[in-house]
């Protein structure tokens, strides 16, 4: 795999991030690892948005911070523009920091309450010594204007702004160095719906204007669908399914994705009444000791014996995917001999890849299988 492939801005290869779990008061020792991100590969294309969805604790934010170079990966590689950033020293990383910026979830804790907005947005210029004095002030005010803030307010403190305005300050700060990739870690989760739309539209405008790529993390499925070109679904540190947004939402293949989508509320009461909800049993297993085989198998309505033994690879299952022949002619041209083996694909690309031994067929209902499981579980009692 070439690393300087033209359309790909970020390539993550087999990224693993474990957080050691320490015990003991005085003599601390590692007793286990939280498998926050476990063998994840993905690509982010230039000028495109990759949406990352998953429940709390699925490793989305950890993955994002690994991509941003904020936390070191345990193993694996993260290529930015063809350069592996995981091996770089802090000094060597500095110029690359300009390429990747982050927008944070909480507009209240992501801005230093003791510093003025002008100083906060001017920080990138100060750190990278790109502008000083009046020049910096002018650039800060331009940025403020660009994100829809009154440039006169550069002397104010974050506490004097509303949540939406604060998030715009965060956007302006992320934009200051003209990055290529902006990682949005649930940028609208803390905002009102009307304000969410404003911020999302701003992000979309900036993307067209500056050709930005986004890694967009959220747990609001509709928001992700709205902004993303490609979507990857994470569960317990692994990517379960990834595809272009329409394919994923139109024909989810992984039982977890199906369940996740079925849990999203529908605005239309008729649609809400007719839709089938798949209620998963049990809780997300502990990431300290994740289940063997498929991570989802203890809760999966379709799980069979093999699921607990063999880790399903992320492959295309194009035999029954009506989208795929048009969506990815490159891979679609050579159907695999064994349909269940599929063609390995990388999340973030054109292929619709699913890590499942028994992907959901179009039109198949999981609700009955789920009911059967619930019934089976109740029987002994």
């Amino acid at each position: 795999m070439a690393n300087d492939d033209g359309d790909v801005l970020v390539r993550v290869e087999n990224a693993v991030k474990y957080f050691p779990v320490k015990a003991g008061g005085f003599f601390r020792h590692t007793v286990g690892n939280v498998h926050a991100v476990d063998d994840v590969s993905l690509i982010i294309e230039r000028g495109k948005t990759l949406g990352l969805v998953g429940e709390t604790g699925s490793g989305k934010s950890t993955l994002a911070r690994c991509v941003a170079g904020l936390i070191p990966v345990t193993s694996g590689k993260v290529f930015l523009n063809g350069t592996d950033i995981t091996k770089l020293s802090r000094g060597a990383m500095r110029p690359l920091r300009r390429e990747v910026q982050m927008i944070f979830q909480d507009p209240y804790s992501s801005l230093n309450p003791r510093r003025r907005v002008g100083a906060i947005i001017g920080d990138p210029f100060a750190i990278h010594k790109t502008a000083t004095g009046a020049e910096r002030k002018r650039m800060v005010q331009e940025l403020m204007e660009r994100v829809g803030l009154n440039p006169e307010h550069f002397n104010r403190f974050p506490a004097e702004f509303s949540g939406g305005q604060r998030q715009r300050i965060g956007v302006a700060r992320a934009l200051a160095l003209r990055p290529k990739l902006i990682i949005c870690d649930e940028p609208v989760s803390a905002l009102d719906v009307s304000i969410q739309a404003q911020v999302l539209n701003l992000l979309a405008d900036l993307q067209t204007e500056y050709g930005l790529s986004y890694l967009f993390i959220a747990h609001d499925l509709e928001v992700v669908r709205h902004v993303s070109d490609k979507v990857a679904v994470m569960y317990l540190g692994r990517i379960g399914e990834a595809a272009p947004a329409d394919a994923l939402y139109g024909h989810p293949r992984h039982p977890y994705t199906v369940a996740l989508l079925s849990a999203a509320p529908a605005a239309d009461p008729d649609a809400a009444a007719s839709r089938q909800r798949i209620i998963l049993t049990g809780d997300v297993p502990s990431p300290i000791d994740p289940p063997a085989g498929c991570r989802f198998h203890p809760r999966c309505p379709k799980a069979e014996e093999i699921c607990g033994r063999v880790e399903p690879p992320l492959v295309t299952h194009e035999d029954s995917d009506p989208d795929l022949s048009q969506a990815a002619p490159g891979t679609g041209g050579q159907p695999p001999a064994d349909a269940d083996q599929g063609v390995p694909g990388i999340p973030g690309g054109e292929a619709h890849v699913t890590a499942c031994h028994f992907p959901v067929q179009p039109g198949e209902s999981l609700a009955s299988a789920a009911t059967a499981i619930i019934a089976a579980e109740r029987e002994p009692a």
């Binding site: 941003a68 300009r98 990747v100 944070f104 006169e152 160095l177």
Partner: protein, 356 residues
């Protein structure tokens, strides 16, 4: 101007008022805001005034001594002692606060004592604050082995029986101002370091620190530009509260004879000498004790006031500010409404006029 136009203008003005526009935005620094809030706090202002007066008096001590005509270390056996050789009471023979056991002017001695006490209090607190902030920041930010070493050392210092060490040091090096400064600083920085470390530990987990790191800021930039501004409020408060501690510490040492040595006056050694005479000369004990009490109380009250003023979330002060703003806004609205009513009345008259 039509009614709708006027209404529109009024709404605009109101909205502009709410947005804080209209006049060019004034940049008020955090310190200006703190000062504004502090100014509205009577107790703090009184405390500040007391402290300033104390400092001015201390600085002006030689001048005041010249005014009274009494030198600080000169005994005045004729005017300053009664026939029994005891101190004379306040107001006698030009001794405003009376004299001490050797017939020296108590007022002049207390003022000279203030010089020592305030100097020791402020200088040791300044050095201890710088040290404590540095140690606390480094321990809290870097964590790991650095934190373990620094934090345990801090705890060890805090656990030290300081009077015992003071006795030992004074015995070894002989009492001097330098020893006092070193000793008080040594026992003061640890408390500040512990508070700073705790604050740093909580602040460094904030997202804005992560944001700074993602921008490429180094650890020292983050410590000084991102963490330190958030520490200034608690540090300033604790520093203000450490000054009276240092003053008392100095007095304690001098009282025990380990600090400032006679004949140089210090509140501590004056008190120490006075305790044998309180039955015949109450003023000898009361006035230096009052000076010590008032000074420490003033610093403590000011420290509390600064803490309230520094924290923008202090309910009391915010409520007062909101009330003022609401009153101002309602005045503007009322004025607009009155103008509107005037116009409507005029318009109505014009209408009837046409009809008739």
């Amino acid at each position: 101007m039509s009614i709708t136009e006027l209404e529109f203008d009024a709404n605009q003005a109101d909205a502009a008022q709410q947005r804080g526009e209209g006049s060019p935005v004034q940049g008020r620094t955090q310190w200006q805001l703190t000062w504004m809030r502090l100014r509205s706090d009577k107790i703090s202002m009184i405390a500040l005034a007391v402290i300033l007066i104390m400092i001015i008096l201390a600085i002006a001590a030689p001048a005041i001594a010249a005014l009274t005509g009494h030198d600080v270390n000169t005994a005045y056996p004729v005017t300053g002692e009664n026939v029994d050789g005891n101190p004379v009471p306040p107001g006698t023979n030009g001794f405003l606060l009376g004299t001490d056991d050797t017939g020296r002017d108590l007022l002049v001695r207390i003022l000279y004592g203030a010089r020592i006490s305030l100097f020791v209090g402020i200088v040791t607190t300044l050095i201890a604050t710088v040290l404590g902030v540095a140690v606390g920041l480094i321990a809290g930010y870097f964590g790991g082995i650095i934190d373990t070493l620094l934090a345990r050392f801090t705890d060890a210092v805090l656990a030290f029986p300081y009077i015992v060490l003071a006795l030992a040091l004074a015995a070894v090096f002989g009492p001097s101002l330098k020893i006092i400064l070193v000793m008080i600083t040594f026992f003061s920085w640890a408390g500040i370091a512990r508070i700073v470390r705790g604050q740093t530990l909580s602040i460094k987990e904030k997202e804005y620190i992560e944001a700074a790191r993602s921008l490429g800021a180094g650890p020292f930039r983050i410590m000084f530009f991102d963490i330190l501004p958030n520490l200034l409020a608690p540090v300033l408060v604790i520093a203000t509260l450490y000054i009276p501690n240092a003053v008392v510490f100095e007095s304690t040492l001098s009282y025990l004879g380990l600090g400032i040595q006679a004949p140089t006056p210090s509140w501590g050694n004056i008190l120490s000498a006075a305790q044998d005479f309180y039955q015949v000369a109450w003023w000898y004990l009361v006035f230096p004790a009052l000076a010590l009490l008032i000074t420490t109380l003033a610093f403590n009250l000011l420290g509390d006031g600064i803490r309230d003023a520094m924290d923008p979330r202090t309910e009391r002060l915010i409520a007062a500010r909101r009330l003022r703003r609401r009153m101002r806004r309602s005045t503007i609205k009322r004025e607009n409404k009155e103008a509107l009513q005037g116009l409507t009345a005029g318009g109505a008259n014009a209408g009837t006029g046409k009809k008739g």
